[in-house]
Amino acid sequence: MTDDPQDLPVLDALGRAVPQVAPPAELRARVLAAATAAAQEDAPAVVARPTPTPAPARVAEPDRPGSSSSRWPWLLAAAAALIAVFSSLGWVGARREVERLHTTIAELRTNATALLAVRADFDRAQSASQRVLAILSAEDVHYTALGGQPPTPGARGRVYMSPTRGLLMAADALPALPAGRTYQLWTIVAGQPVSHGVFDPEANGRAQVIADAPPGAAQAFAVTVEPAGGVPAPTGPKVLLGVPAL
C-alpha cells in the first residue's frame, strides 16, 4: 500500500479509524491469565507474580493444575522438530511453512493456557462445592437466619456453621454497592468481631461466602458495608444480622 515513512501516521490513523467496540468484560481475565501463563512457560527473564488481593473468603483456594501443563510440551517439541526438518531440507517455501508452524505453536500455547484457565475455574468451583457439601452434611452444623436491617430491609441471609468444617453464608436481595464499598461478613465471638472477609453480590443480589469457622462460640453473625478491601473491625452500617439459637 505504501512504504513511505511519511504515511505511517496515516496507517496508524487507519488503525484507529474503525468503530470503537469494547471487548467483552470477561476477555480481560482470560488475556491476563493467558499472557502470564505463556510467559511462565518459556521466558526465563520474566517472572510473573499475581498481585495479592485483599483476601475475599468467598471461595476456597483452588489446587493449581500445574500437572496438566505437562501434557503440552511434547506437542510443542514435536512442532519444533518439524520446524527443524523443514529448515534443514531447504525447500522452496519451507520458510513459509516454518512461519505457519510458528503460528501453530502460538495457537497451541494460546489454547493450552485457555484450557488451563477453564480447568482452574472448574477446580475452583468443584473445591467450593465440596466444601459446601462438607459443611452442610457435618454432624455439628447449625443454622442461623439473617434478617435485613433498616438500610436494606428486603435482604435475607442464612448461615450454616460447623465448628469443625467451616461456615457457609448465603444471602439474597443485597443491593449493588457504589464504587469503593464492599460487603464484609463478621462473627461476634466473646464480644469481639471476627472477619470472614469481603464479598460482592452477583448482579441478581445473591452472594455466598465460604470461610473457616470462627475461633469460639458464635454470638451473632453480621454483614456490614465497608470501604473496599475491608476493615479490621466493623465501621459501616449493618445490612444483615442473625443470632444463633442457644
Binding site: 500500500m1 505504501t2 512504504d3 515513512p5 511519511q6 504515511d7 505511517l8 501516521p9 496515516v10 496507517l11 496508524d12 490513523a13 487507519l14 488503525g15 484507529r16 479509524a17 474503525v18 468503530p19 470503537q20 467496540v21 469494547a22 471487548p23 467483552p24 476477555l27 480481560r28 482470560r30 488475556v31 491476563l32 493467558a34 499472557a35 502470564t36 505463556a38 510467559a39 518459556d42 521466558a43 527473564a45 520474566v46 517472572v47 510473573a48 507474580r49 499475581p50 498481585t51 517455501g93 513459509r96 503460528t103 502460538a106 500455547r109 494460546t110 485457555a114
Partner: protein
C-alpha cells in the same frame, strides 16, 4: 499519556502483572476494535486481542522505546495478527500465498520516528476516508483492513492494476493532506 504507556512496558518487563492489566485497560478497546474490523467475528477478534497482549507481555523486555509509540505498536500487532487469522481462514482457497502480502504495508523499523495520531487526527482521517470517492476508499480498505496486495485488489475488483495503483496513490495523498501532511512529524507528542 505516552509516559504512562512506557511505564506499563517497563513494569511488564520487570514481571509486574499489573503493568499488563493497566496496558490492557488503556488499549484493549482499540486493539479489539481494529481486530474486529478485520476479522469480523467477535470470537476471532478476542483471540487476536489475547495474542497481542500475550506478545506484549512476552516481548516487553526487548521493547525498544526509541521505536515509537506503544499504542501504535499494539495496533500494528493487532492488524498483523488479525490478517494472519484472516489468511488462515481463507488458506484453503488461497493459492497465491507466495505473494508477500505483508510487504504491502511494512512495519516501521526501529529507526523510524513514529508519531502517534491524536484523536483529532483520527477524526480527520475518518472524515477524509469517508470523503474519498467510493472506488478509492474501497482500494484503501481492501489494502489496510483486508491485507490485500494491489494485484489482489485488481483481481478482486476486476480493475486494471494500473487503475488500482493510481486509486491507492490518490487516496493516500488525500489522507496525508487531511492529516496535515508533513506537519505531523513535528513530533509534538513524541
Amino acid at each position: 499519556m505516552l509516559d504512562l504507556d512506557r511505564q506499563c512496558i517497563t513494569r511488564i518487563a520487570a514481571g509486574d502483572q499489573t503493568g499488563l492489566a493497566d496496558l490492557y485497560d488503556r488499549h484493549a478497546t482499540a486493539v479489539y476494535s481494529l481486530a474486529l474490523r478485520i476479522v469480523k467475528r467477535p470470537q476471532d477478534a478476542e483471540d487476536v486481542t489475547q495474542q497481542v497482549f500475550t506478545q506484549a507481555w512476552r516481548t516487553a523486555a526487548r521493547y525498544d522505546h526509541g521505536r515509537g509509540v506503544v499504542a501504535a505498536w499494539l495496533l500494528m500487532m493487532s492488524r498483523s495478527r488479525a490478517l494472519d487469522c484472516l489468511r488462515r481462514r481463507t488458506a484453503a482457497r488461497d493459492s497465491s500465498s507466495d505473494d508477500a502480502v505483508m510487504a504491502a504495508i511494512p512495519d516501521p523499523g526501529p529507526s523510524v520516528e513514529y508519531v502517534v495520531a491524536t484523536k483529532q487526527q483520527v477524526t480527520r482521517a475518518q472524515t477524509a476516508l469517508d470523503a474519498l470517492p467510493p472506488e478509492q476508499r474501497e482500494a484503501v480498505e481492501l489494502a489496510y483492513y483486508g491485507g490485500l496486495t494491489q494485484s489482489e485488489i485488481a483481481e478482486r475488483t476486476s480493475t486494471p492494476l494500473g487503475t488500482v495503483k493510481s486509486r491507492v496513490r490518490s487516496a493516500l495523498q488525500a489522507l496525508r493532506a487531511a492529516m496535515g501532511g508533513s506537519g505531523l512529524h513535528a513530533g509534538e507528542q513524541s
